[in-house]
């Protein structure tokens, strides 16, 4: 069985743990519990008759005072950079996280998730997404997600999966 390591990074309280929980267990909790260190979840995906083991790394969120632990990123095959669409500061940090990933030894697919979209009007979310794309020109793929409602989560992981095995656009 092939294993693929996916890391989720981003500022604290952007919903990384919730996105993973939604994807792996299809569950959601409103309670906020800060992650420290790393928590690894597994989800096996059947891909064209091949079973792939997804190892999804939920990494402690970064803060202006504390950067993420780069050793957690080693050997990753894909990355999801998560921002909270309601918090401009987390959108501003996207570029930094993308650059950290791009400084690694190999170029891996990176997808951006603008999470918590359920908290704002869809048209406003689209405007913010467009603004982020213009401002952060290194973003290849961007998803509007809501771990609470589940929107965009499955599609985002699926796209990242395709990109990791070389079928992405």
């Amino acid at each position: 069985m092939i294993s693929k390591k996916v890391v989720l990074i981003g500022d604290f309280s952007t919903g990384k743990t919730s996105l993973i929980r939604r994807f792996v267990d299809n569950q959601f909790s409103d309670a906020y519990l800060s992650t420290i260190g790393v928590k690894i979840s597994r989800k096996n995906i059947l891909w064209e008759e091949n079973e792939i083991q997804g190892l999804i790394w939920d990494i402690e969120g970064g803060t202006p005072m504390k950067a993420i632990n780069r050793s957690y990123l080693l050997g990753a095959h894909g990355c999801i950079v998560v921002a909270d669409i309601t918090r401009p500061q987390t959108l501003e940090s996207l570029q930094d996280y993308i650059e950290v990933m791009q400084q690694g030894p190999s170029q891996i697919p990176i997808v951006v998730a603008l999470n918590k979209c359920d908290l704002i009007e869809p048209s406003h979310a689209d405007e913010i997404a467009a603004g982020v794309k213009v401002k952060q020109n290194k973003i290849e793929e961007l998803y509007l997600t809501s771990a609470k409602e589940g929107s965009g989560v499955e599609a985002m992981f699926e796209l990242l999966g395709r990109m990791m095995i070389g079928e992405g656009e």
Partner: protein, 397 residues
């Protein structure tokens, strides 16, 4: 074998659970209960690939290799096993390769030790949680402050725009009011000019008749020509007074109050006489004040006009306006009294407010401007009160 025994003596007492792996990352030894530190309770057994049980090692093969090669010291990987169990996984070099010297360290095995750090990590997690929640609150507060600032700026723009509109509106109304004043003054001049024009017309007719009948001698001619000069001089004076009145001075000057007010009365008295309104002026003729004489005149005119309008709305047999001048505590006081019935009690406190008027065609500007001219431009005071059968305005300067 001795080392192995020591090793077992230490770790098999369950101080730490452990794996021992070889250079192929295969498990070659493990403690009894080490499986509790593996995700989903993976079953450990000899020759199992360590990555199958510990995905936390995935991707750090190179780091592990560096420990095998003696290039890297031991290191720690903190991870969450199952909430809220926090574990520190320590990677240590194990048995040294026999073929290498002491200076060139190579290791046959690595020891992976597990330490349950839930107690300390929970405290750490609480601190981080508290810090993050505080940061979120601060962010929210900053966001609210930004919104408030933006709202205030927007409100300020609205207020500024409204002030601008009001100023423009006030200017327009002032202009209209001024035009109305000019129209009124032209009416007064017309009245003033009618008498000399009639006189000139009569003199001209007389001179023509005398000339036609051959009775125009030099003396009669000179007397009448002189009379025409007098009449035209009077008309010219009227126009000069009018011009002076409507050309406000830009600098403050000292001026005699009685003379100044007399000029206005000269201009308006015919109009008032025609409406059976008596104007009286008395008081100290030596009072000199410092200010803008023409603006002061317009204040007097505005008050007189209000009295006149009140009389026209409710005329009676003896309509009188009395203007008195006096000194009081080093200040000049001019009172303008009328017997036009007074100002209704419910509006007297707002009579100077902008756009306050009781007249159908009033602008509500005259008395507001009057108060502003006296109090803002000349540091004086303009008051009003009701007296018996009328109103009394007092100008302190």
């Amino acid at each position: 074998m001795y080392l192995q025994e020591v090793f077992n003596a230490i770790f098999k007492n369950h101080l730490y659970e452990y794996f021992v792996i070889n250079r192929h990352f295969k498990i070659i030894e493990y403690s009894d209960e080490v499986s509790k530190y593996c995700e989903e309770g993976g079953n450990s057994s000899d020759e199992t690939d360590i990555f199958m049980l510990l995905p936390e090692l995935f991707g750090i093969e190179r780091e592990l290799q560096e420990v095998f090669d003696g290039l890297k010291d031991s290191f720690v990987i903190p991870y969450i096993l199952k909430d809220p169990n926090y574990v520190n996984m320590r990677i240590h070099p194990g048995r040294q390769e026999r073929s290498f010297s002491r200076d060139e360290k190579q290791f046959e095995t690595l020891i992976i030790l597990f330490e349950n750090v839930t107690e300390t990590a929970t405290v750490q997690q609480s601190l981080i949680q508290e810090r993050n929640e505080r940061t979120l609150l601060l962010e929210e507060l900053a966001d609210k402050n930004r919104q408030l600032k933006r709202f205030n700026e927007q409100m300020q723009e609205v207020v500024d725009e409204q002030i601008k509109l009001n100023l423009e509106k006030q200017k327009t109304v002032e202009l209209q009011s001024r035009h109305a004043q000019i129209g009124e003054m032209i009416g007064m001049i017309t009245h003033q000019w009618k008498q000399p024009l009639n006189a000139i017309n009569a003199i001209s007719t007389l001179l023509k008749l005398k000339h036609q009948t051959g009775k125009l001698d030099a003396e009669l001619f000179n007397i009448n020509i002189e009379n025409i000069f007098t009449q035209t001089e009077h008309m010219n004076q009227t126009v000069n007074d009018f011009q002076r009145f409507f050309n406000p001075r830009k600098e403050k000057v000292s001026f005699n109050l009685l003379e100044n007010i007399s000029t206005i009365l000269t201009l308006v008295e015919i109009d008032y006489k025609l409406n059976d309104i008596t104007l009286e002026l008395d008081g100290d003729e030596s009072i000199v004040v410092y200010g803008y004489p023409n603006e002061y005149n317009q204040v007097i005119l505005s008050i007189l006009k209000n009295a006149k309008d009140a009389f026209l709305a409710a005329p009676h047999d003896y309509m009188q306006i009395t203007i008195s001048l006096r000194r009081h505590n080093d200040r000049s006081v001019v009172t303008i009294k009328d017997n036009a019935g007074g100002i209704p009690d419910h509006i007297i406190d707002t009579i100077f407010d902008l756009y306050m008027t009781t007249k159908d065609e009033g602008s509500g500007l005259g008395l507001n401007i009057a108060k502003s001219v006296i109090e803002s431009n000349m540091d004086g005071r303009l008051d009003v009160r009701n007296i018996q059968n009328g109103a009394e305005f007092s100008i302190y300067l």
